[in-house]
Symmetry: C2
Subunit: 299 residues, 2 copies
């Protein structure tokens, strides 16, 4: 597949790719690099790289595949720091959660020696940082690739196989489609989770403590989603702001109708909404995104 | 504790109480009754009662504790159907998720022979019906009791021990406090989950299918919450409407501020919200309501 791979950015995603590739045994040499010294210390201590480099440019020099696994806000500066060192004929990919922004930066910088195939593994847990990495993070999860139309099919196949070697399923689509779908399946739910938590927190201290104590009734699951990496999510909300605001507005319209149904004690309308939600849930289970095994607290 | 207990309503909660008590071995005779013939068939087939009765009045006659485990909308009619058959000195409790409404009905009907100690086990899973019952549903979960101030302490202790025998923790509070706390910890999150699902469903078919396919990015967990029992939730939203609408309004105010922060690309404000959410999550884990073990899809 690839002889040498460089992973730039060693947080949850970067370290999980390292561990996933090592488990698969599919790559001869894997280099991880992070600009953060504390992270570099963990890379050394936990042996999360086959070779240690002092800067990103050096770390990518002989690699056939380079993966930028940093937050979106660092993508452009990382690209600038490595662009003159990329090996001729190498492939460049990334793991950012918003793809039109990445596409624009790639168009602006226009790498001459490398083939660009942006990507997004739709997988994550609430923990972040290099110590949170797990080899099976991508197993049975989707990775979406958003290459331009004129990109060589063979290169796309190689990157697909790369993700598949870690157990991921791969889907190719346009960056616009990606950002629209994710604005509903991921960005809106996270925006909502943060605001549910904010709303609970805005109560006086005693009530707040009681809300935490009895959070098993639903709130608990939202707090998990709202505990994801702050920097990553700040970047997503800023980078995909137009589509996310559209989704939020759609959501508020629905919520207003729902409020009206409660106010009017419209039993029929409420039951209709709940039954439809149950059906949607069945589709999610059918799509293999969750199990129908009941969840009653993961203790 | 109690020699004979009658459970009226044999859905998820009623059947879980039956199984929990049997596992604990704390009650000599347990009767379950349900007005639904299909449910009664399951009670017979799955042996979910020590004795079968044809009506609720007969089913409570000799019981020391009677638990109404029906949806809130059936509470009053059930109470009317049993009130003349309750044993002198017996205790009556329930499992309804809204407590001021239950309090009002009890005040109106004013049972003469029985002591009323309303209750709410804050435990649940997304499945419903008698087949969904599990003996450990209440284990490590809270049960909130909301007796009037003048109620005999000994009777309250007996009901507390009853729930504790199934592994539940017990808390006494006023019905007003209960409904306020639950409007944030449970009712608002459910309202939001339904509306997230509604918002995703309002897209055109192709986008909808893609949203389902990539729902692991956050949406998945909301669909689980939104798959809970429709009748129960219709009743909760109607019965606790005033407090739930207050909570929704508070939530919308927060969401509007959040939208503004996204529009203005206010990085500082966004990071502040996310960091605070992480802290809140830590409190939930500290309160024993969840684990910090990462969740990456329950397959």
């Amino acid at each position: 597949m690839f002889d040498q791979v460089s992973i730039i950015g060693c947080g949850l995603i970067g370290s999980s790719i390292f561990k996933g590739l090592k488990k698969a045994g599919s790559i001869k040499k894997i280099i991880t690099y992070d600009k953060d010294k504390a992270v570099t210390e963990i890379i050394k201590k936990d042996k999360l790289s086959d070779e240690i480099f002092n800067n990103a440019g050096e770390a990518v020099k002989n690699s056939d595949l380079v993966i930028i696994a940093t937050p979106i806000s660092s993508f452009e500066s990382v690209l600038n720091s490595i662009k003159n060192n990329l090996k001729a004929g190498s492939i460049l990919t990334d793991t950012c959660s918003v793809k039109t922004g990445v596409g624009k930066i790639l168009k602006k910088i226009n790498l001459k020696n490398s083939i660009c195939i942006p990507g997004h593994p739709v997988a994550g847990i609430e923990n972040s940082g290099p110590k949170a990495g797990i080899p099976d993070l991508f197993k049975n999860r989707w990775t979406i690739l958003t290459p331009n139309k004129n990109i060589d099919e063979k290169a796309i196949k190689k990157v697909s196989k790369f993700w598949e070697s870690m157990g991921s399923k791969v889907k190719i689509m346009s960056d616009e489609d990606h950002d629209k779908i994710l604005s509903f399946s991921s960005h809106l739910p996270h925006a909502i989770a943060y605001n549910i938590v904010q709303t609970s927190m805005s109560n006086e201290q005693e009530t707040k403590e009681d809300i935490i104590r009895y959070s098993a009734g639903g709130l608990r699951d939202f707090t998990r989603i709202a505990a994801s990496d702050p920097t990553m999510w700040r970047d997503i909300f800023i980078d995909n702001s137009t589509l996310i605001i559209k989704a939020i507005d759609k959501f508020i319209k629905n919520l207003d109708e729902f409020k009206k149904a409660i106010l009017e004690k419209d039993s029929k309308k409420l039951l209709e909404i709940f039954e439809k939600s149950k059906d949607f849930r069945k589709s999610v289970i059918k799509a293999g995104q969750d199990t129908d095994k009941p969840d009653f607290g993961r203790k």
